[in-house]
């Protein structure tokens, strides 16, 4: 049943992607676009196969940093959103600042992350975390602010404290919007990791996807650049899928969003 469900969800995008790839391949061939400007999908596929060891290792490094950053932003985001919801003064004072943080371009602060956290995994994960934090905070806060007042009254009647009400009512109630935030955060975490790698990732044999992109770009190896970009997108897709799966498992029994 799950397989059938998956297939039903998967076939339209698969058809679209295959169609787009075919179109791309033909367009590159037809207009004789040089490889260094836009390689064809087949050429990218070949780069992926030729460079598989390096790309696989790079994907692993980027995946680790993305995963750590995402788990960090999920944890910090849910806690921060909860604190903001429980403490009205903090909500009024801190939330606008959090919004401001969202506006600061990552590229501008990425070099500072290197100074603060050091090169490699710490600064890259921090970058992934910072970029993906806001949607989780916003999702958590929105959820907690929209808890049904009637249910809140039930908790009040039975003498539940704020923390207890948060745990047994607020959090479960907010799960759908927390997961909306997490789904957005999943894609952002990959972007954050790649940008972090541009400024703080290792190079040479220890290069993650961001490092492969910079170095291949300097060598005019455009197919490798695209191969790395494809893998980065794939990472985002996998993370999104995992988050979606967890959300579905948690919500499917009672929430419309998971049906």
């Amino acid at each position: 049943m799950i397989a059938a469900r998956l297939w039903r969800a998967a076939w339209p995008p698969i058809v679209v992607v295959l169609g787009a790839l075919l179109f791309w391949e033909l367009a590159v061939w037809f207009f004789a676009v040089p490889e260094y400007l836009l390689p064809s999908p087949r050429r990218i596929g070949r780069a992926m196969i030729d460079d598989r060891d390096r790309l696989l290792a790079a994907s692993g490094r980027t995946a680790l940093a993305t995963g750590l950053g995402f788990v960090g932003s999920a944890a910090i985001g849910i806690v921060a959103g909860s604190v903001l919801s429980l403490v009205p003064l903090a909500r009024r004072g801190v939330y606008p600042l959090a919004l401001l943080l969202q506006m600061v371009p990552l590229v501008a602060i990425a070099p500072m992350l290197v100074i603060w956290f050091g090169y490699g995994l710490p600064s890259v994960a921090a970058s992934a975390c910072i970029v993906s934090l806001f949607p989780v905070v916003a999702g958590t806060l929105d959820g907690l602010q929209s808890v049904d007042p009637g249910l809140q009254e039930i908790f009040r009647i039975h003498g539940a404290g704020r923390v207890r009400a948060w745990w047994s009512l607020g959090l479960p109630w907010s799960l759908p919007s927390v997961f909306t935030g997490l789904r957005i955060a999943a894609g952002l975490a990959v972007i954050g990791a790649i940008v972090g790698e541009f400024t703080g990732g290792f190079g040479g044999d220890a290069a993650p996807l961001g490092g492969v992109i910079t170095s291949a770009l300097k060598q005019n190896r455009t197919p490798t650049v695209f191969a790395a970009i494809t893998l980065a997108a794939g990472l985002g897709f996998v993370l999104f899928g995992i988050v979606n799966g967890i959300g579905w498992a948690l919500l499917r029994r009672w929430h419309a969003s998971a049906r």
């Binding site: 009637g150 039930i154 009647i157 039975h158 539940a160 207890r164 009672w254």
Partner: protein
């Protein structure tokens, strides 16, 4: 017999809204005698729910006096079932006990007993969304009863249900509550429900709510057979007449 379980004297409540002050309750005196069912009936929006909420401690009066022993456990039931959608019926019913710090086992055992009382044992493991409206209300009643309240406050609990379901739930509620010594305050706008359940039916005027008349309802038994009793119809007509007068007295 001891004194009333709860009592209000000259209760007034004014709300401050966007269009200035609105008087919802304009001087109400009420005594809830132990083991009786008191019914507040009046037109929609007259402020009768406000009286119930003040007695339950969910709202505070603008003036007047509320006398109630704060240690007396209260059970609440609202027009909406107010169940947690992610919890099974059993765990929803057990919620008040869990929040009171009782062990999970104890709470679930008590919940099962109340579910048996309202005839929901078979649905204990289902989620609220998998129940009919009437079953959800039964679960809400079971939850209101789970901590052995001595005072049960019912705020139009069956107002959103169809008439047949409503009649059946009224009959079941009568069977559960009468003779257990629980004191009940029921707010409703259904005359038949009021007369069927109440020992005393208090008719209220449109806003601001004031008491127009009190009826003592003499029927010794409250079961389905009562609905065919000519006296039952007469009683309903009398209540209806008073309600009409109340409505016509105000523009």
């Amino acid at each position: 017999m001891s004194g009333p379980v709860a009592e209000v004297r000259d209760l007034r409540r004014t709300f401050r809204g966007e269009r200035g002050e609105v008087e919802a309750v304009g001087g109400v005196d009420l005594q809830l005698s132990p083991g009786t069912i008191t019914v507040l009936i009046g037109p929609t929006g007259c402020g009768k729910s406000t009286v119930l909420r003040i007695i339950g401690g969910l709202d505070a009066p603008t003036s007047g006096e509320v006398v109630r022993d704060p240690t007396v456990p209260i059970g609440f039931c609202f027009q909406e079932p107010r169940l947690l959608p992610w919890r099974s019926v059993r765990r929803n019913v057990a919620l008040p006990l869990e929040l009171a710090g009782r062990s999970r086992t104890e709470a679930l055992a008590a919940a099962d007993a109340r579910l048996a009382m309202v005839g929901l044992s078979d649905a204990a493991d289902r989620l609220p969304a998998q129940l009919s409206g009437g079953m959800r209300m039964r679960a809400a009643v079971a939850r209101a009863l789970v901590s052995n309240p001595r005072l049960l406050l019912l705020d139009e609990p069956f107002g959103a249900l169809d008439e047949v379901t409503r009649f059946r739930l009224d009959e079941e509620l009568a069977a559960i509550v009468r003779g257990t010594g629980i004191t009940v305050l029921l707010v409703t706008h259904s005359i038949s429900e009021a007369v069927f359940l109440g020992d005393e039916v208090v008719v209220m005027s449109p806003r601001p709510a004031r008491i127009i008349e009190r009826f003592q309802i003499p029927f010794p038994t409250r079961d389905a057979a009562l609905r065919g009793d000519p006296e039952f119809a007469v009683m309903q007509t009398r209540v209806l007449d008073v309600l009409r007068q109340g409505l016509e007295a105000t523009p």
